[in-house]
């Protein structure tokens, strides 16, 4: 297996499971991409060889345990923060699981990510520290850097439960070029039954796309794109207003390019159904893409998309990362996206002076 395409194909179309020759490689890729639980849920109920079924059953059980643990961590954070009376918005995997979304099925969930309004940050920090969370790092530089420029508090870990929490006040670093409208995002939150919140459906997509294309180095990208596929399908089904709403929100947050790229790549890799007339697309293209032929061409991958696609699929049948140069390129880019050049130079200088291990 030279890249992750067989995994993508099977996620897209589980009926192909009967033709799989090399389950071992497929499972190794799925585990390396944190998609083993999602795959296992996707293949549930199919006639498969007994050893494969046993392995997938264990992956589903593991996914379920992870879901319970993630929701419990959210609940403990809710209890710790309840006296403050500030809305707590769940992000990423925990949000999908708490909202019962398809994207949460079997999904591996790492840290607890929450979003609060920036003015509430000091109170939230104090309340978490009082309830048993502790700083992970002692480094003053990183601390100062985090507080000044990042979109989240430095990571905290709970001393009894060993779980990390990331407290965000924005979805991108403050130094990044797009400036999402956080007030609007927080105002449009959706209440869950237990007193917690999620983002609105369009903002959930915007956040997932921003996280994937405008922030990190694309590690775990296939999983994040799978989230986007599941979310788009679920939100758009039976809601004709969804695509225009997504377009509007992506534009308002300055994230049309990222959302457009997410939609194109999800469509190409996971066959996400898209309403191309109303799908998010960069403004510069909207004016010229008005004829039916040009609208029809909107789904085509741009040249840069191909590079992203290669990066997303760069995993061999042993679970090894492939294409080190493209990876390095995206790593450098992730820093470039996060900060203006001068600040980047300073940041890299300080990092370089740290002892390397």
């Amino acid at each position: 297996m030279r890249d992750a395409r067989p995994l993508v194909r099977l996620l897209r179309d589980p009926a192909g499971a009967g033709q799989v020759k090399d389950w071992t490689s497929l499972v190794a890729v799925a585990r390396a991409e944190s998609l083993a639980g999602s795959l296992a849920c996707r293949l549930e109920g199919l006639e498969l060889p007994a050893p494969v079924e046993a392995l997938l059953e264990a992956a589903r059980r593991d996914g379920e345990a992870g879901r319970v643990q993630a929701l419990w961590e959210a609940e403990m954070a809710r209890r710790a923060l309840a006296p403050l009376g500030v809305p707590i918005i769940l992000l990423k995997g925990t949000a999908y699981a708490a909202a019962g979304l398809e994207a949460g099925r079997g999904r591996s969930i790492g840290d607890l990510d929450i979003l609060v309004a920036r003015p509430a940050l000091p109170d939230v920090e104090r309340a978490l520290l009082a309830a048993g969370w502790e700083w992970v790092k002692e480094d003053s530089y990183d601390d100062q850097y985090y507080r000044r420029w990042m979109h989240e508090l430095p990571p905290l870990i709970h001393r009894e439960r060993d779980r990390m929490i990331d407290v965000h006040h924005a979805i991108l670093p403050l130094t990044a070029r797009p400036k999402p409208d956080m007030a609007a995002m927080i105002a449009d939150r959706v209440a869950l039954a237990d007193g917690l919140f999620t983002l609105s459906p369009p903002d959930m997509i915007v956040h997932a796309a921003a996280h994937l294309f405008a922030d990190g180095d694309m590690a775990g990208g296939l999983r994040n794109l799978w989230d986007i596929d599941r979310l788009l399908r679920e939100f758009a089904e039976g809601d004709p207003g969804f695509w225009p709403a997504l377009n509007e929100r992506a534009a308002r947050h300055g994230l049309l390019p990222a959302v457009g790229r997410a939609v194109r790549l999800a469509h190409h890799l996971y066959a996400t159904p898209v309403n191309w007339c109303q799908a998010p697309i960069s403004k510069s293209l909207i004016s010229e893409a008005t004829t039916p032929a040009k609208i029809g061409a909107r789904h085509q991958l741009a040249a840069a998309d191909l590079l992203y696609r290669r990066r997303l699929l760069a995993r061999d049948g042993w679970g090894r990362a492939r294409r080190p140069l493209i990876r390095l390129g995206f790593y450098v880019r992730s820093h470039w996206l996060r900060m203006p050049p001068l600040m980047l130079a300073k940041h890299l200088w300080v990092k370089a002076r740290k002892p390397r291990r």
Binding site: W23, T24, V27, A28, R31, A32, P49, P51, V52, A54, L55, E57, A58, A59, R61, D62, E64, A65, V68, W318, G319, R320
Partner: protein, 286 residues
């Protein structure tokens, strides 16, 4: 990967890939007569150079695979076999979710299994291996796999890693069953021993657990037996399990059923003859 070995041990299968020939050749010899897995392998282990040039220059083996720990340190290529063994252990410790995994040795007689668990150095591994040469069926010296549905114990008869002084206890075994002597490892001098033909031939047969022992070895200890209550046994077994918490309610069910039904004893011993006498005595009553 350049060199590949696939291995079935009880109900678990591994695919081991290596950038170097030697570790795979050694595995092949050590596990001669083991079945090849049919179809999917549960876990993938990779032995690879930490940095590209370390494949040739002072080669050191990084232990990677489906599941990895960040603090894992590489081993010199001469200890590649040990790296492969550690890699398989690591996959079990981090990734095994089909069974309740207990860090324990187990042996069987008449379809009934004896389980021995304790901290490393307590002697469970040596005792398990010794009993396996003396009329019991050896089921495993490192991990015992408790079936979540029916409470039976599955064999996991991997090669036994004999350390330092316990090496001398196995002088009489067929030399073809012994791996290379590995010196200067993090655990001292090590030599692997392939379980005997019966253990390998019957690796697919589970057994009903009937007795749990917590052995403790010490040169100055008097041979004693102490009854261990279900509460203490439960606590100890959760700490001897890598996946108890991850298995959730099915783990709770399996383990409460286990400690509720089985006698548990702690035994102290100063030499293996004492231990065997105590075990025979307790087994007769079990």
């Amino acid at each position: 990967m350049n060199h590949v070995f696939r291995l079935q041990v009880g109900p678990v299968s591994f695919r081991i890939g290596s950038q170097w020939r030697r570790p795979v050749a050694q595995l092949r010899r050590l596990y001669e007569g083991y079945p090849e897995p049919e179809g999917v392998c549960d876990f993938t282990v990779r032995l690879e150079a930490e940095r590209v040039w370390r494949r040739w220059l002072r080669p050191s083996v990084a232990i990677r695979g489906d599941y990895v720990l960040p603090d894992a340190a590489p081993l010199p290529l001469a200890q590649g076999l040990l790296a492969a063994e550690m890699g398989m252990n690591l996959q079990m410790a981090l990734g095994q979710k089909r069974f309740l995994l207990l860090h324990a040795a187990s042996v069987e007689r008449d379809g009934r299994a004896l389980l021995m668990t304790g901290h490393s150095g307590a002697g469970k591994s040596t005792l398990g291996a010794l009993l396996g040469e003396r009329g019991w069926r050896f089921m495993g010296d490192e991990f015992a796999l408790l079936d979540l549905a029916d409470g039976r114990l599955h064999p996991f008869p991997r090669a036994v890693s004999l350390k330092n002084e316990s090496l001398g206890l196995f002088d009489g075994v067929d030399p073809a069953r012994l791996g290379p002597v590995l010196t200067g490892t993090p655990k001292g001098r090590i030599r692997h021993l392939r379980p005997n033909g019966e253990a390998v031939a019957r690796m697919g047969e589970p057994a009903t657990p009937v007795l749990i022992l917590f052995p403790r070895f010490g040169r100055d200890l008097e041979p004693t037996v102490r009854e261990v209550g279900a509460a203490e046994a439960f606590m100890r077994l959760t700490q001897a399990s890598t996946n108890y918490v991850a298995l959730g309610e099915s783990g709770f069910d399996a383990l409460t059923r286990f400690v509720g039904a089985l006698p548990c004893r702690a035994i102290d011993y100063a030499d293996t003859a004492q231990a065997q006498a105590l075990i025979d005595e307790l087994w007769a009553k079990a």
